[in-house]
Amino acid sequence: MNFKTLTDKELVELLSLKEDLAKSAFNEIYLRYSKKIFAYCKKSIKDNKIAEDIFQETFVNLYNVGRSDVRIENLQTYIFRIVRNLCLNYKRDNTQEFIEIEEFHLTFDEDPTQVKELSSLINQAIEMLNDEHKEAFILQTYQELSYNEIAELLQIPVTTVRNRIVRAKRKLKEILTPYFENKKFEEGK
């Protein structure tokens, strides 16, 4: 059986069948979603160790749920709900202090490549966003979900999703303004 050709729904159905099939189906699910889930964990949780624990727990939970009688309608939505809930639980139990924009100082590497440098700055700037904006931004940029998919996942209107993402990007751009200004200055020299 070529599991790559199976749909998410078919893979979920296989999860509840005999163990060999379930493991093969899980393998395919892991191949499809591990990168996105990992990115979500890394971007949502600052602590790498905790992020990896949540990543692992997400897939183990998914496998166990798949083996149980619980019906999974939409695999992508379901798996993001698992990881999201785990992240929210962690944040709830370990309240993170927001870094106010005035306290935030961008740290420039001496000689990074431009893209790497900007990526690094964005990662730092993401921490400046509030949870709702940050989550919407991460889901859209790192998980490559559409606005509609995010709305379904978060169970909020699409317009709200759009507003949150646009807000997040505006704020990121605002945070990164010194960087861009500096670039313009260097280019103008």
């Binding site: 093969s24 990543f55 990526s119 790192y142 990007k169």
Partner: protein, 537 residues
Amino acid sequence: MNDNFEYLSEMERSLDPLDLAFLFLDGEANDIEKQVLFEALSNDVNLQNDFQEAIAMKYAVIEDVKDLTPPVGLTNAVYSSIGIGAATTVSNLANNFSGNYFTGLFNSASSFLSPIYMVITSFILGSLISYFLIQNIDNNQNQNNQSNQNKQNNQYNQKLIPITKISETKNISNIDTIKTNNLIQNNDIDEQKLSQKGNFQNLTNEKIKNELVEVYQYKRNKLNPEIIEIDTLYYTKEKVNKLREEQKKLHKNDIASNVYKSKITTSKIDSTNSTMIVLNNGVNGKNNINNNNKYIMPILTPNENIDYKIQTITPIETNEKMNIMPFENSIFNKNMLKYDSTNKILSETTIENGQISKIVIQPENITVENTKLENMQNVSQNYEIKINTINTLNYFQNMSEKSDNTSSFNNLQGTILYKISENQKVGLSIGNEDYPRYVQLNSEFILTNGLTYYGGVYNYNFLDINLAGNIKTNINLLLGMSSNSLVNKSGIEINWKPDSKLTINFGVESLLNVANFNNAYEYTGKMNLFYGVSYSF
């Protein structure tokens, strides 16, 4: 910046060109929003700068995503948690050739190893199935043989049932007297003399043309004279001729002058042409002619339990003093010995003036069947050379999920086989096949066609079908190797032997090739149609 931005109406929000730029880059802007954005971009230099910065941000995020891959250790931990097994670092290899991150079966040790397990498991399973299949076939054949033996024994026992019906009789062309219902009675036969020398040798002269001659040898049971014991022997043509000469010398002065080589053509009642063989009655010569001048003869007929009528009987030679004397006849496959259970004879012929005047045949009597006649042609043919053309019916995806659907008609396989038993042959094979193998080179997989292999062959004949000559059905197994791979073939082959030495082959087979490229295993399967000829010697 409006803090209540989230709660603005869509119309109000969409009027901000920078917001439209973000929507556009996310692929979420509609046509109207795109138009508004493009108009704004054409007039607003600041917006152009903002747009460039937004693009830079998006590009930076995309680059960041590429570097976000779960570490192998983390993947190992996930897989171990659900009992799949440790992952390996080969995922990058799969990523490289697949062009898509996290795809390909190399991503975990389990999926990497599973093809190897599958091959080993398939081999063991296939061997077990073959073993049990062969065992069952052997058992079935033994049971069939036993059944045939029982049947034969039953037939012998049935000889004791009196049969009174006499079939048609017909005169010989040069005899003007036709005598019907001329039953031979016990008292017509010199039983004592018959039993003294009661050892008849019969053969089918069709077979004498070939390499082997089937000879029935039957005699009366010493304890129960009612029972005739029958043995089937196989003589070479040379031996038959030698026996003839010996018989001639032995009975030089004691062979009846009226032993004839005759041709008797018969037909089935359903008008299918067939031939009935009438043989002379052996060593007693004239002593077998009783007082009523009747000549006792065995008769071989082609089929079982079918009535025959004699159409013509044509003496070919007369006064030939031979004991074993075949008759000219056409081909027959199954021979049946018919005899009268009451009188222990097969038929009787009336001799008048040294000529056959009448033959009486008992067509509905109990029969003894010989089903091995045709197969005996192969007794002395131990070797077989075979050449097959191989056409690919279907390629299966290999473990890289790459396959080549191009059928090929340029494949050839040569094999030499040695018969180790009646239904088993072993041999060596060399073949060349177009084969969709992907060789790993610098993280890329390159399609290579062509596979030359050498291997051992095992051939098991599990079913004979006697239609249109001699048809055999075989199981073929091949285990071989090429420069960097193992080849395993298994298939079903049908042989048709229009001639004792020439065979037409036809069959289907599946092939599994397991290769090792740069320490990475690769397996590919396909299904073949093959056909060709073979020559036995």
